[in-house]
Assembly symmetry: C2
Homo-oligomer: 619 residues x 2
């Protein structure tokens, strides 16, 4: 990257909004069939072209007659009129109604000539010489006059109206089958990272390949905002092809999006095309994570470059780009997708730039919203689903205090706090039991992290394994046991019989991180066996999740890994049993009455069925 | 209709919910490409199949090295290490990092063998014999370990998760390109009214034909609820074809919907098919407007018959059917689409059945929500867009008092109160000026209705024409004049010269309703001219909207109609000018500071441009 791209003055968020707004991404209006118009926005006013109803229409089943013929009628002294005909809905009346006559009529039928009112059938009875009417009616009673609903020439719907089933109903009544609507902005999504591979493709981990997360994420967000996303084929490290894609996208779309590549060569392609065909209006916004944002034009198209990390890309998209797409599509401003909540924990900041802090939501027992920061480190894709929105933190804010009130801009209006927030040990039985809870969140950060966060008052429940903590409540919501030991290649070629064999010079091992309860169980077993951890080759080599050591054994990286019988069985590996440990689900005492916790308790009632499928598990 | 269909015992709303819930409309799960999965719902848990990242990954631009080589480094005493290579994102490291060495590394690149940490470039500077590091780092610093984001075997997303851009991002990272999702229930919409004509078709008014409103409305509502609507071709009065459509829909769909036809023959077809192939579980619900609701089975499909009037059909659909479709699609319960408000006016009821009262929303100057009943009479399609939701009123409630608090179940979660509610004279200039306001509502019920409703405190503004009311505020938000007179056939064949000629025996006339300000202006002109209204043939023949008399002249029904020069010009008719009347837009004094009223005032600033297009208009 050369210096020309290192703008030192970052734009303010307001300037960035203005720069994006200055891009013209509004497509021409179009006409769509009514049947396909749901969610579209009227481009112009629609006045009624016809009367609805188009004729004077009976609005009850009964008898059409001249109202004056019923004057004076009541139950004691009904008026009797001869019936001279019948008229049903959907047919032309065959008779006129003369003075002193009546005609049977159905709801929706055309009023026969001569009649000016309908007496509902409930207020009549048949008599020998006709129909008896026990009530008087006035002209127009139980009749909907032509045009009474909507008359030709009246304003029906205004420009900018979003078409829901209701408006579609009114347009149907008016006989409108082609609807003039705002165009849908076409947004090209060009993938520029040469290390990226579309989902479904094979990754070469040694070459640092990763799946392209932003293309599908941004495309889905474009569609959520009312645009039509066009994904251009991934060009890999073919820079000529990448450049061709960019130029093609610019020619075909109202707006082109890329997301920051970490590849300097790919970045250079983007800059070259912008320089040659368009202009750069803005480089970098003084908001974390907006520093890498680009705004400009490529050819005839508007252009925005998003940051490369998925949460950053989506945040910047939602903050700056989505409003412009909605506006171009004529979509009414989205409903206010914010919630107020109290910080569940304290969060400190380095001062400097305004920061959009990814935040998770949670409700306490009283249903109040709690907010906690989600910071899983740069580029974590799990933050996409573990955060619910962002909190804008001023540049001069040092910290947010626990209990402080904050506003969370939700990732979408239908985001809801999780039913239950579980933090702790990564356990496959618990993970499966959660299938019985609607909308749970499970941060499998390890037992130690679960305890630590519980001391902060954050989670609803903690999943714990390993030795009991000194202050651990003994009455768990549920508990079960899992058999653990050493996962080894199939057939156990090294002939490992127990933890003592890990100290052998020629055995390589992979451990779990110290946050894991299983790690604590393992350490205790090493101590019991009198094995010096320093003699275990790979003791310091740690992985976070329950199945990871077994995977490293499977791939041939190591001879043995700390793990569960269930993992060895799943992956078809050998297993040297060492012991059993208890997994406990502990409730936050402040949340035992929370709905989601009760729902979890019900789901955990079925844990026996879950663990029946997991080798080495028991209750 | 025979007696067997006249069930005397209506089901309770709870029984109706249970009957619909007992129908099995859940389709089989399916697999869709990730790119097309937005809005779908996961059918099963997705566990991570791979580690993300798949390799130890630099999370900053900088230098990869062994952390222990930086111990003790600080700004005063930096450590200098020789650089032995470079590794970019997307490439396999070509070098190992030995003790006392460093390698330049890009964000996202694979950590080279031997290195265990990255020092960000900001904490380094180039020196003659290598790179100087002015900070110490620990192993793992600025490195995202393989699987640190999500590890193979971990729970990624649970069953029942709705796929938004965020989940699509996580699935992308996991390389999942085919997603197991809940099926979309297929809902057949069969049109059974033989008087119905699909929008776009020509109506025969004399035969009582109307456009089919419910098919497209219900289809759109099905899609809003997460179903796939299949519209079956309209069979008109071909009952064999109608029966064939019903049977075909039952064979092809999870659920078949019809909406009540007023045609007895069409109703008989529905009953016959249900009786021969399925069963009727429920006929009629004790809720207004649910009396005609049917629940049962047709062949292998579930079946619900909706009422025939559009607002009733949509209300019953939303109340009983939409939840079942959402449930079958696995869609999370829609957000709570209700608002609380105060009744703006008193509303009385006949006791009897629970009633779902269509209601309009409004905000007062303080932003509080006001609620008013929308009752335009049976079958009005304009109620679809003039109501915002329904208020459930108990069977034993006599009345709702003005100011009483009520809960409105919105027609959809994104329904918002209109920016401004205008009631009064039907005027084309005002109708056009509203195009400049986002989301207005205009009830063109006539000047008299506007004044009456203003006395109740309902509208934000009143549009008035005709003679000034005694208590009318003279300071209007805007006012203009419109030329009125007698609309006659082109060339004025009857040679009408003024209102006096209307008293001629051979001249037929059509008037406006007494609610119209123009009618009052006309009455005053008749009086001035000394014309006895009783001698005007058609004086009592009234229509509601401004263009309707001209349309009756155009169709040859009458010789002259009360109307505007603008209407005559639009329809290419003759016009006999009589006078000018003022149209005034009057603010509700309680709402002058309301945002929507201010927006209307700005739009009315441009009224001159609007009236320049309307012959006979002036300011």
């Amino acid at each position: 990257m050369t210096d020309r791209k290192e703008f030192r003055d970052l734009a303010s968020p307001e300037e960035a909004h203005e720069a994006v707004a200055s891009l013209d991404i509004e497509p021409a209006p179009e006409t769509v069939p009514l049947r396909e118009s749901r969610g579209r926005v009227l481009a112009e006013r629609v006045d009624a072209g016809i009367d609805v109803p188009g004729f004077d229409r009976a609005s009850m089943d009964g008898y059409a007659l001249r109202a004056r013929d019923t004057f004076g009628a009541d139950e004691a002294d009904p008026v009797v009129l001869p019936q001279v005909g019948v008229v049903h809905a959907g047919e032309e009346p065959a008779v006129d109604v003369g003075a002193g006559e009546c005609v049977e009529i159905s709801t929706g039928a055309v009023m026969p000539p001569g009649a000016d009112a309908v007496v509902p059938v409930e207020r009549t009875h048949d008599v020998e010489d006709g129909v008896a009417f026990d009530t008087a009616v006035a002209p127009g009673d139980s009749v909907m006059a032509a045009g009474a609903d909507v008359a030709a020439g009246e304003r029906a719907l205004g420009p900018g109206t979003e078409l829901t089933p209701r408006e579609i109903g009114l347009l149907s009544a008016l006989g409108v089958d082609e609807v003039p609507v705002r165009g849908t902005p076409t947004v090209g999504v060009v993938s520029t990272g040469d290390e990226l591979v579309r989902p479904g493709g094979e990754l070469d981990h040694r070459a640092g390949q990763i799946h392209d997360v932003n293309s599908y994420t941004v495309a889905a967000a474009v569609e959520e905002a009312g645009g039509e996303a066009v994904l251009y084929p991934h060009a890999g490290d073919d820079y000529d092809e990448m450049e061709r894609q960019l130029r093609e996208a610019a020619a075909e779309c109202d707006l082109v999006l890329t997301s920051g590549s970490t590849s300097a060569s790919a970045v250079d392609v983007v800059y070259r095309v912008i320089e040659e065909t368009g202009e750069l209006l803005l480089h970098g916004v003084a908001i974390k994570p907006g520093k890498p944002m680009l705004v400009g034009r490529v050819g005839e198209s508007a252009y925005v470059g998003l940051p490369g990390y998925p949460v950053s890309a989506l945040t910047i998209f939602r903050t700056f780009v989505a409003p412009a797409i909605r506006d171009a599509a004529g979509k009414p401003e989205g409903e206010r997708a914010t919630v107020e909540g109290r910080m569940a924990v304290r969060e400190r900041y380095a001062q400097g730039r305004t920061r959009l802090m990814p935040a998770g939501l949670l409700t306490d027992e009283a249903g109040e919203t709690l907010v906690y920061p989600v910071d899983k480190g740069s580029g974590a894709t799990t933050s996409l689903v573990e955060a619910d929105g962002v909190v804008e933190v001023d540049a001069d804010t040092d910290y947010l205090a626990a209990g402080e009130s904050v506003t969370v801009e939700l990732f979408s209006p239908d985001v809801r706090p999780p039913a239950v927030l579980a933090v702790g040990e990564d356990d496959p039985a618990f993970a499966r039991a959660l299938d019985g809870v609607r909308g749970p969140r499970y941060l499998a950060e390890g037992t130690r992290s679960g305890y630590r966060r519980l001391r902060d008052g954050l989670p609803d429940v903690v999943v714990a394994s390993g030795p009991l903590e000194a202050d651990e409540e003994t009455d768990a919501l549920a508990s079960w046991t899992r058999e653990w030991g050493l996962v080894v290649p199939r057939g156990n070629p090294a002939g490992i019989e127990g933890v003592a064999d890990l100290a052998a010079a020629d055995v390589s091992f992979v451990n779990r991180t110290t946050a894991s309860g299983l790690r604590a169980t393992f350490d205790a077993a090493l101590a019991d066996a009198g094995v010096d951890a320093e003699r275990v080759h790979g003791y310091e080599r740690t992985v976070r999740a329950h199945e990871s050591p077994a995977r490293k054994v499977q791939s041939g990286d190591v001879d043995a890994g700390l793990g569960l019988r269930a993992s060895a069985a799943k992956l078809g590996l050998g297993f040297v049993p060492v012991g059993e440990e208890a997994v406990r689900v502990l409730a936050n005492p402040e949340r035992t009455e929370k709905d989601g916790v009760r729902e979890l308790v019900r789901a955990l009632d079925g844990i026996e069925a879950v663990i029946a499928d997991l080798p080495g598990y028991g209750v």
